[in-house]
Amino acid sequence: MAVKVIIPTPLRPYAGKHDHVDVAANTVGEALSSLIAQHGDLRRHLYQDDGRLRSFVNVYVNDDDIRYLQKEATPLKDGDTISIVPSIAGGSTGNPACAAFALPRTAPPGLAVPPMES
């Protein structure tokens, strides 16, 4: 099946600056594999080291999220459009290393400013 994969702006530098890539595939998984075969630098941004799609990578076939279809086994038909849509996430803490950056809510006693002497 000939389908079109829409590349989101942040990934275009890794896809030859194209806003879409045409591939031939029977399933979403095949289409993404074909995309990566053409543009290998996309892999690390789409997939985790264990080969699963990253959680903040959303894939739609036409208007439907593949999580509510058959995920990567979702079948395709000629002319389908696959969209890769980012979701954005973050936050101030996530692991102990970051806790080192945490701002103290109150000054530790040793850092208290002494009263001015007259």
């Binding site: 941004h45 849509v85 936050g91 101030s92 803490t93 692991n95 970051c98 809510r105």
Partner: protein, 147 residues
């Protein structure tokens, strides 16, 4: 890499961060790529408008934020309607410094500018901007210019 914020945009991010405290707030940065992209100092982006968005992480809003894919599409459409580009995202770190966390890095996309505002005890403080390295190993700082 430089990220220019108009004074109104800078003030709006700070006000949003203070208003949302102690929760993280987030939104989209809309503007233009002014000069050649890349890692060099010539790379300049100009943010001229914001789209404040709802933090979808209602289970842990004090130290997490999330923008749903439908909001990302809304931000892309808002940028297009104004002949602007969706350049990146801002979020606040309540009672934490304006430094990307490991969680930020794991969830970041390349190319986007990520502005982080520190808000301590409701007072907006330092604001920084970052871009993810191509190999996802870390961030490069992007200099914020107000003007």
């Amino acid at each position: 890499m430089r990220l220019q914020l108009s004074p109104a945009v800078g003030e709006e991010i700070r006000a949003h961060g203070a208003r949302g405290y102690p929760h993280e707030v987030c939104g989209a940065l809309l503007g233009r790529q002014v000069a050649a992209d890349g890692n060099g100092d010539a790379a300049l982006r100009e943010v001229t408008a914001l789209l404040p968005l709802e933090n979808r992480r209602d289970d842990s809003p004090r130290n997490r934020f999330s923008v749903a894919p439908e909001d990302v599409l809304r931000a892309e459409r808002a940028a297009e309607a104004s002949s602007l580009e969706l350049l990146g995202w801002y979020h606040s770190h309540p009672d934490h410094p304006a430094r990307p966390s490991e969680f930020d890095r794991e969830h970041a996309w390349p190319w986007y500018s990520y502005v982080i505002l520190s808000v301590a005890e409701r007072e907006p403080g330092e604001m920084t901007s970052w871009r993810l390295a191509d190999d996802r190993s870390g961030y490069a700082a992007e200099r914020i210019e107000l003007g």
